[in-house]
Structure formats: structure tokens, C-alpha cells
Point group: C2
Chain length 450, copies 2
């Protein structure tokens, strides 16, 4: 059995939905289909979810929502018309939306949550109707009836343990299940949404619950690339990578998957296949528990900017038990999580994402470290980028660090930081932001271009 998830761009128009029908119909193992809300049809288009959020805001401010409601309904209606569905389904969706808008506004968060989630919910109803219209045995199943119980944490819901048990019954359901992504139901029966990209989370939870053989995730790219295509033109595709590699790549700006989305599939060891709705014949990228290392030490290169480093120097620092811990404690007082802590004998640098600080917090932290820890020297450097080389093959191969640092040296790039030695799957280089792209290109050239 395969659990299949389609993203917003795969469901944005009748033409796209037609492709989805073919994909589902072409493989009888594709039994559970998770759908997002209709996404963008073209670059400047609006996503239905964004329109729903605006709609909720206007309603809460007592403003007129009729134009927005019409625009939302029109999105579903266009798809229904393109695919020649009867008006019944659109009436049902319109009804649902109006009922939600007339609902209890005393709890604005719950009101907004229900409206946001309706994008996926109504789209699942529509897609089920499309499948039926095409003669496929299919039915809409709601998170409520399936028992997708979640915590009451709006915008960041977590599936409760009992959800998995209840959802496991879906495998006995006859025909194709069309299930809305993005949300679950709390114990009080209210709609609670996952974090953004939450449809991936729904798919991953369902794949785990029914112990699927495969979780197929259809998007609009042929594969996960070895490097950001905005930095390197036409980069190589990744055929297969491990969960761990995916996680390390996603840290460095690869946004194919939301980190959390992979956890339920990862826990059950279910392979994930990222595929393209517009080119379903392409093999896509498989994310697995373990892979054979056949393609050199690296699977990909990721990078991200917006880091800053806080340098602290103090003579004889390394004799002071607790010095490093005390610095981290000061950062914690301002909610700062650190990324890395390279250290010398008498100095230590904490690397943090600079959007966690403003000038005032930064000045306070510097002052506190200086005064409370009697540091000799402290300075902050902004605008650093981190480049991650990712690959489980790295450990087996002597010389990866040598190849990488030589490639950077040849490109005339000064390495601000090297962090290697904890993860067996990644190696990290710090460079100034203004040479980030040049550095990534040099590394891609070294490891992938031949």
C-alpha cells in the first residue's frame, strides 16, 4: 500500500487535477491520497490558504468577506467546471465555508484555525468527487472520523499516540481514501493545524499508521537537487538519500521537506519518494533509512546565510570549569539557541542565527559576558554563511576535508570556520556571506561536476 500526497501546485487547476487522477489510477497500490489546498497556478497567483487567512481576519474585524469568499469558491468551481462535475460539490463547499464564517468568534484562534483548515478539507471533498466522477472507487474521509487526534497547539499541533492506533484502521477501508492534509482534531473536537507545509506531516503520519510500503510525495520538481539551482545552473539530481542526509540538507536551506514532516515516516522506516506531478515517469528522489554509497562521499551541498559569531577570549579560559556553559546560559536568557561553538584554548566562539537578536539584545549579551565572566575580549561578527557538505559516505573516505578546503583555497576563499567531527554525515564550513555563492560553486565543481 502506498500513501500519496499532492502539494498545492499539483491541485491548482483542472489540468493539474487531471494529472493527479491519472497518477492515482495508474497504480492500484495508491490507496490513501492526501491533498493540500489549491496552490498557485502562476507566479503571482494567490494560494487558497492565504485567502482563507485574510478572510478570517476580515470576519474577526467585522469587515465584509463576500468578495474573498467568492474568489475562494471560484477556485474550486473552476476546477469542477474544467472537469465537468455537477454543481452539487460546489454547493457543498460554499455551504461549509458560510457555516464556518457564521461560527462562534468568541475564540478567535479556534475560528481562524477552522477556516484555514477548510482549504484542505474542501479540496479533499472536491478531489473525492472528481475521482468518483472518473469512475474510481473513492471517498472523502475526514480527520475527525479517522481519529487523527492532535495536541491543542494551534499552528504546531502534534499527533497524539492514540491517533496512530485509530488511523491504522484506514488500511481496511475499501477503495481510495481522499484525506485532507494540514490539520487534526483535538480532544475537544476542534480543528488544530500543523505547522506550515502541514500536508507533508499528515502524509507522514498516515504512512506510519497504516505501515505503508511507500510514502509518495508529489511536488513540482523532478527530484531533490544536489545543490540549490539558484546558485548552480542545472545541478545534478539526487536519486537516493537517507533521512539523516535529508535533515542535514534541509537545515542548509533545502526546503523540499519540513524537518518535522519526516519524523513519523522515519520512525517507521518507511521510504519516501519525492516525485513530480508534471513528470510522473521520472524516478524522483527516494529518502530511505540506509543506502549504498555508490556516488562518492557527498550527496549534496546546502548553504544558508544570516549567521553571526560571538567571539569571547579570556587568558587561561580552558582551566575554568563551566566557562562555556555560563556563556550559553546568558544566551538562553534571551531565548537564543546556538548553532555551533568552535573553541580554542583561551577562546570560544558561539555561532547563532542573527535574526534571533536585535542591537539591544546583542549589546546586553556582550556587556553581560564581559562583566559577569570577566572576558578579556569579546566581539561580534555579522553576515556569516554556513555551507554544509552532506553525505553518509564522508566518514569512509579519507580526504574529503582536503578536497573541500583545497577547492575553497583555489577559489581564493578564506575559511572562517570548519566544524567537523560530530556528525558522521556532514562537514561545515563558515565563510563570509559575500562569498557564499562562489564557495558553493567551487565545492559543487569539486564534488559533482566531473
Amino acid at each position: 500500500m502506498k500513501v500519496v500526497k499532492f502539494g498545492g501546485s499539483s491541485l491548482a487547476s483542472g489540468t493539474q487535477v487531471e494529472k493527479v487522477c491519472h497518477i492515482v489510477a495508474s497504480d492500484s497500490e495508491r490507496r490513501i491520497v492526501i491533498v493540500s489546498a489549491p496552490g498557485k497556478r502562476f507566479a503571482d497567483d494567490l494560494k487558497v490558504t492565504d485567502m482563507l487567512i485574510s478572510c478570517a481576519e476580515r470576519a474577526l474585524h467585522g469587515e465584509d468577506t463576500s468578495k474573498l469568499v467568492d474568489a475562494i469558491i471560484e477556485r474550486y468551481q473552476r476546477i469542477a467546471e474544467e472537469l465537468k462535475l455537477s454543481y452539487t460539490i460546489i454547493a457543498r463547499i460554499t455551504d461549509d465555508l458560510n457555516t464556518l464564517l457564521k461560527g462562534d468568534q468568541s475564540n478567535p484562534v479556534a475560528f481562524t484555525e477552522a477556516l484555514k483548515a477548510s482549504g484542505e478539507d474542501n479540496n479533499a471533498k472536491l478531489i473525492a468527487a472528481v475521482f468518483q466522477h472518473k469512475g474510481m472507487e473513492a471517498s472523502y474521509v475526514s480527520p475527525q472520523e479517522a481519529g487523527l487526534l492532535v495536541s491543542s497547539d494551534p499552528g504546531n499541533a502534534q499527533a497524539l499516540p492514540e491517533a496512530y492506533e485509530q488511523l491504522s484502521n484506514l488500511k481496511n477501508h475499501a477503495g481510495i481514501i481522499v484525506f485532507p492534509g494540514f490539520f487534526g482534531i483535538n480532544k475537544a473536537g476542534e480543528v488544530v493545524t500543523f505547522s506550515r507545509s502541514g500536508s507533508d506531516i499528515t502524509g507522514s503520519i498516515l504512512a506510519n499508521a497504516v505501515k505503508a510500503d511507500l510514502y509518495e510525495n508529489f511536488t513540482d520538481v523532478d527530484a531533490v537537487y544536489t545543490v540549490n539551482p539558484h546558485i548552480v545552473k542545472n545541478p545534478k539530481e539526487i536519486r537516493e538519500l537517507t533521512y539523516r542526509e535529508m535533515r542535514e540538507l534541509s537545515y542548509g536551506g533545502f526546503s523540499v521537506f519540513h524537518d518535522e514532516a519526516l519524523i513519523p515516516a522515519f520512525r517507521a522506516g518507511i521510504p519516501v519518494n519525492v516525485k513530480n506531478t508534471n513528470n510522473p515517469e521520472a524516478p524522483g528522489t527516494r529518502i530511505v533509512s540506509a543506502r549504498k554509497n555508490t556516488n562518492g562521499p557527498l550527496v549534496g551541498i546546502a548553504s544558508d546565510d544570516g549567521f553571526c559569531s560571538i567571539y569571547v577570549g579570556k587568558y587561561l579560559m580552558n582551566r575554568e570549569v563551566g566557562f562555556g556553559r555560563k556563556i550559553l546560559l546568558i544566551l538562553e536568557d534571551y531565548g537564543l539557541s546556538f548553532e555551533h561553538v568552535p573553541s580554542g584554548i583561551d577562546d570560544l566562539t558561539v555561532i547563532v542565527r542573527q535574526d534571533q537578536m536585535n542591537d539591544e539584545i546583542e549589546a546586553t549579551i556582550v556587556r553581560r559576558i564581559k562583566e559577569e565572566l570577566h572576558a578579556d575580549e569579546i566581539h561580534v561578527e555579522h553576515d556569516q554563511a554556513l555551507i554544509m557538505l552532506v553525505g553518509e559516505g564522508m566518514r569512509q573516505e579519507v580526504g574529503t576535508a582536503a578536497r573541500a578546503s583545497t577547492a575553497l583555497a583555489k577559489a581564493g576563499i578564506n575559511i572562517e570556520m570548519i566544524n567537523q567531527g560530530s556528525s558522521e554525515t556532514s562537514m561545515m564550513f563558515g565563510v563570509r556571506e559575500n562569498v557564499e555563492e562562489k564557495a558553493v560553486q567551487a565545492l559543487y565543481e569539486e564534488f559533482f561536476a566531473q
Copy 2:
């Protein structure tokens, strides 16, 4: 004005003391001479300080000390006889030793401290007598009369701020001052010793107090070497290095200077010259505040073994504010100071000196991290070595990391860890202990052999 310190091997015999006389007499700027106790004359010889400690122990146990006292006196006497001094000075030293042994034993620590320190104290009296005998204008000055006030921290005394003011008067003293190293006097008038190698500390304090132009430290080597001569035969000598470089090298097993000894000279910016008593014409090694980078990116390579790494993995670790700090807090509960903390996205490794732990502490730490922090994975690897590349030139030169890691790769050495980015003066590589020497040799070859 120069402050000059002579180590134990420079004062172990009449022949050696003769060399010291020539060195001091040959430069009228050498006005303050700090002496250690007589050291070893040959490999299996005893140091006077060690004999004095045994003597104190025996006395405290009510055992006979006469043979040991005779052996100690004999060491001074031999020197006096070789240099044809009158017996007066030996009588004075014998008297002093017997008085100390008959002293108050109600405070065993104070009793031992006074006895230990007498090695330097009596040697200063002897050397002053030698200088006078040679017709030099010289006198013994005790820490008490000079005002070298220290904290009451036996074996780890710290000079008090007022000491510097009082000691500054030494610069107005006529003739050559011979001053015992290794100890000061607390406010109660008791002798308190510095840490071992404490004569270096005395020299550094006096150099600071009189604002000497130079602090000459005479030992038995021509210079500080670029690498451990037990690992690389006949390594190049270092002509000049900065305090910071010295400190980083000394971390990695370079034992020319005790870390602390340099602080007072460092604070006053006084250059230190390490020289050889047996070859005073050799330029030796100068330790300075700043140097011109004329000899490539590195000044030296140091290494040390006996480290272990504690690996902790947890999915989504990098979202948890305080995770790293909590690990360090657990280590602190057992008095462990960490050396380095390389980190990945979902993992973090703490590198510690393994002599800080026994099997039981290790098992407890592993259990606590697992249970209290819900780590997915934790394992400890022993027998790691750290290699430090040291040099202030490193930052200016692109490609140092590339040269180093390429040299290691060519030698077939797997790099367990790279730590670069905090210190501007060093770069650290972790390797397994069994390839430490091979790694150091490969790095020496790359950076120094040409």
C-alpha cells in the same frame, strides 16, 4: 635592565654555576638573577627540591632525617668546593636547614612549604656568595625583605597586587640581586610556594614589577622547537613567537613554560628570551607581544593524547534551546572541563581529557545524558589525540586548512575532528592516538621541511 632566571639544571654543579657567572658578568644589564634549587646533574640524579619534600615527610612521621639532610647539604657543598668558596656559606645553609627541621610541626603544610622553599632560598644565598667570591657586586635578597606578598594558597600561591609596588623598588638596588624563585610570603609572614616550575613565575613577577626590558629564561635547550623532537628528529627552532602562540603550543604538550608563568610578563608586555646556559651565544627563542610574520603561516605544531569524545545524537536537537548547555552542566557535576564541542544539526560531541573520568563516572554521565535529555544515541570514543597547528600568520593566509588536510589525506590519516574558527592563532585536528606521530610528521613535512 634584564631579569634573568636560571633553571635547576643550570645550577646543578660547580661547572654549571661557573657558566652562570660568566653569563651574568658579561652583560651589565643583567641586574636581577632568579635561581631555582640545584637540579639534576645526570639523568638519574635527584633534584634538591624532591629531597627536601622527602625530608619534610620523614620529619613529620618522626623518622630520622640526618642522611637526607647530609645528602642535601652535600649538593651545595660540592658546588662551593668546586668554586673554592669558604665554608661559611655551607655553615649558614646547614644552620638554616636544621632550624627549619626543628620548627613548629603543628601545621604540617606550613612546615613542608618552608622546607620545600629552602632549596631555592639557600641556593640564592650560595649563588650570591659565588658572585661575591668572583668579585662581582651582588647580594642575596629574600622575598620577605623585597615584599613578594602572595595569597595563602600552598603550592598555588598568587602574587598580591601590593607585591608589585613593593618589588618595584628592586630596580633602585645597587649591584646584582640574587633572588630565590618558587615562593613568596603571605601576610602572616609564612612561606607559600607557587605551582611547580614556580621559579619561572618569580622571574615573570619581578620582570613585571621592575618593568624590565627583557626577561631572560635560561634552560638547557637552545630554543623552543617547531615540533616535539621526540616525534621529529632535529626539528627547526623557533626564533620568535607571541605569548598567544606560546600559550597554544604549551597546551599541546610543549612544556618550556608553565602557562601561568607568562601572565605577569605578558600583562606588562615584557619580551621573554628562552636561552641555553650551555650555549649562551645561541639567540634562543624570543616570546613577544607581536611579531612580524616572516616565516609562513605556522610557528609550530603541538600534539597531545589522552582525549575522549562523548557523542550525543537527538533528532531535532538544534531546535531545543539549552540542550548543549544541559550536557555541559551534567559534565560539570563531575568536575569535568570540556576541551571542544563540535556539533552537527542533530548531534553534538564533547571532547574531554579522559583522565578526568573513571569507568564509573563515564557510565553515570552516559546514563544521565540518555535519561535526563532523552538522547536518541550516545557513545564514547577513547584514545583520541589532538594536534594543534599554531601561528598568528594563519588567518592572513588562504589555504592553510587545505594544506594541512591534504597532507593528512596523503598520509592516509582519517581526520576525526577539525576545529577551526575561534582562535585566530590555531587550528586543531583530532586523530586516533595510534596515528598521532605519523600525523604530526606529515604536517611538519608540509609546513616546515622545505
